[in-house]
């Protein structure tokens, strides 16, 4: 158990840095919009998604209709569908921990729990549960600090939110180096870039998700056909089919 706590904590450190500072940013903006600490806590508990919480501030201050808020939330948060699909098997049999594990499946938490490298004998669900709790506590702590003491912070924190970008880039690099089959990674980046150019930064996520699913499925079908048509070469027999 001690080992599990240790590992969950160590793995959560990169997220700690990002969450605390982005949380502070969120708390400061909320304070500027005259929404105090209870609003900050309510959002961090009821929504618990960094990107969505920032968008919600704009929805509230802009007086958006409830329908508009729901549609916006759908557009911004749709990527969570993907995380959930990819964790269905991983979180199977988690029992009472499961609702919290699902509730706390943010971008950052997902990026850690989707990796499949735990020491022998360590309980995966306990590890993921602890990691999820560490992460949410950083996030709430950051939001509260920003709300209460945001104006006291004098050093220029501009650009600190790059920590999250760096987290994803480092995980992508690590995955890239440890997997032979780069097709999924390439499809992810390629489809996202094409959709970003075609649909623009505000609305490229949904087309991207559809595109990625289609490309992965079609590629798998083609490979399946090749395999049944030509079973001899066991590895790397590409290009001459």
């Amino acid at each position: 158990m001690k080992e599990t706590i240790r590992k969950a904590f160590v793995d959560s450190i990169p997220i700690m840095a990002g969450y605390i500072f982005i949380g502070i940013g969120f708390g400061i903006i909320m304070e500027e919009k005259d929404m105090g600490i209870w609003w900050v806590i309510a959002m961090s508990v009821l929504i618990y998604s960094g990107a969505m919480q920032f968008v919600t501030i704009n929805l509230i201050t802009g007086g958006a209709s409830f329908i508009a808020s729901a549609v916006t939330a759908l557009m911004v948060s749709c990527r969570h569908l993907f995380y959930a699909i990819s964790m269905i098997d991983g979180y199977k049999g988690a029992g009472l921990k499961k609702p919290y594990l699902i509730y706390a499946l943010t971008d950052e938490t997902y990026s850690i729990v989707c990796r499949d490298q735990l020491p022998e004998g360590m309980n995966r669900h306990t590890y993921c549960f602890l990691l999820s709790m560490f992460n949410q506590s950083y996030w709430i702590a950051g939001c509260i600090i920003g709300s209460l003491a945001g104006t006291v912070i004098t050093f220029n924190t501009e650009g600190i939110d790059f920590a999250m970008t760096a987290l994803f880039v480092s995980i992508f690099t690590e995955q890239w180096m440890e997997t032979k089959d780069k097709s999924s990674a390439l499809i992810g980046v390629g489809v996202s870039l094409i959709c970003l150019i075609v649909f623009g930064a505000q609305s490229f996520l949904i087309p991207t998700m559809i595109g990625i699913t289609l490309c992965l499925t079609v590629l798998d079908k083609i490979r399946g056909l090749r395999k049944t048509a030509k079973p001899e070469p066991p590895e790397g027999g590409e290009g001459d089919a």
Partner: protein, 111 residues
């Protein structure tokens, strides 16, 4: 004031319900005691790589290619993260150095 507070609370509840609904939906449909359908299981196993690529693009979506200061800080910092990660395999080091590099870039170099 009371109306504003109610409006804010309802908006938060709606955004929370949609976000959490999206997280719970696949588990509600395919989870439980049943065996996960083969296609969903397979999709779940190949998605992490594609998703991480998508998240990288998502984080860098507001880069502007019109001015050097619009893309250079991100490009340099991302390159540093990749290089450090490939060399040392230490996420803390890559993320820390990359973030500091980015902050120096936008606050001092390309300010």
């Amino acid at each position: 004031m009371h109306d504003t507070a109610t409006f804010a609370l309802l908006t938060i509840l709606i955004c929370g319900a949609v976000t959490q609904g999206l997280r719970f939906l696949p588990f509600a449909v395919f989870g439980g005691g049943r065996k996960t359908p083969g296609y969903i299981s397979w999709l779940g196993s190949v998605l992490p790589y594609a998703i991480m690529g998508m998240l990288c693009v998502y984080c860098l979506k507001s880069i502007s290619i019109e001015t050097v200061s619009g893309w250079a800080p991100s490009a340099i910092a991302v390159a540093l993260v990749i290089a450090l990660q490939a060399w040392k395999h230490n996420s803390l080091l890559s993320i820390g150095a990359g973030t500091i590099c980015y902050m120096v870039m936008i606050q001092l170099v390309f300010a």
